[in-house]
Symmetry: C2
Subunit: 141 residues, 2 copies
DNA sequence: GTAACTGCAAAATATTTGCATCCTT
DNA sequence: AAGGATGCAAATATTTTGCAGTTAC
């Protein structure tokens, strides 16, 4: 894991700092999208919240994480799956938010469906948020 | 228009108050999704911002407006098209956000596509946000 | 050494709650 | 008259900016 983190930072030409290592560690171990507030809590306030905001922005611009749509209108971030870089993100998969645990997962083996928009509209990107029950919460119900 | 507003309020059993009339008037004339802040500006501060927040919440619970997903993570609202009521919303259409003017439109003649989620996940709702250029901004480009 | 990263203070923005008052029905 | 709607004050949450000190390379 530690190795994976260092390689990722190197690959994206980002400096190896404690805040970045800590956030990447959390992203890798949690596996679902996280907001600044959640990251602040999970790091037990080891880092200033401004640092977390800025680190997330840096990560996004470097193609390490991407923003995830959330129906509660909170910005969450998730690790990029494929070779995103610069401002070119192509995280073209669905996102699934569980109504119960409120975690948001990337569904990487899915593709956003083609959608029809009216003539005269130019569609450039399609973001899909599916809500329902995740496998874990479904078992409990 | 005035007539339409009064009928809508009556149909949803909501009291006929200045704030509600003003907000409905804006929704009907603008035709795109609006946030609390935009509504506050458009009403030229005639109403306290708390009133706008509460009116929007009331509208949503009554099935007058529905929340619209926004990729900037700001909550916007749009008039319901069909017979939404109570907490049962079935505004099952796509939303289109223009990258240029940043307005978000409902595309009522579209239906959210069926999507495949992994087994063990239970999908209950699909929300789709298409981004691109609206017809108006496309002409100008 | 230098540029980049971080922490702290502070401001700007967004949202919610309680309470007293006013208005709709 | 009664319950609901509104305004005001204030608390909370979220995000951004500036600057000075520190760290990675």
């Amino acid at each position: 894991m530690e190795d994976q983190i260092l390689r990722l930072l190197q690959k994206k030409q980002l400096r190896n700092t404690p805040a970045r290592r800590a956030l990447l560690d959390i992203f890798l171990s949690k596996g679902y999208a996280l907001s600044q507030g959640e990251l602040e809590a999970l790091t037990e306030d080891s880092f200033d919240r401004v640092t977390i905001y800025r680190t997330l922005k840096t990560f996004e611009e470097a193609g390490v994480v991407h923003e995830v749509l959330d129906n509660q209108s909170r910005v969450k971030y998730s690790l990029c799956q494929d070779g995103c870089g610069g401002r070119h993100h192509h995280d073209n998969h669905l996102h699934f938010k569980c109504e119960q645990c409120e975690h948001t997962y990337c569904l990487p083996n899915t593709l956003s469906p083609r959608v029809e928009v009216p003539a005269n509209y130019e569609a450039r990107q399609v973001q899909v948020l599916v809500t329902g029950l995740c496998e874990h919460c479904r078992e409990e119900a």
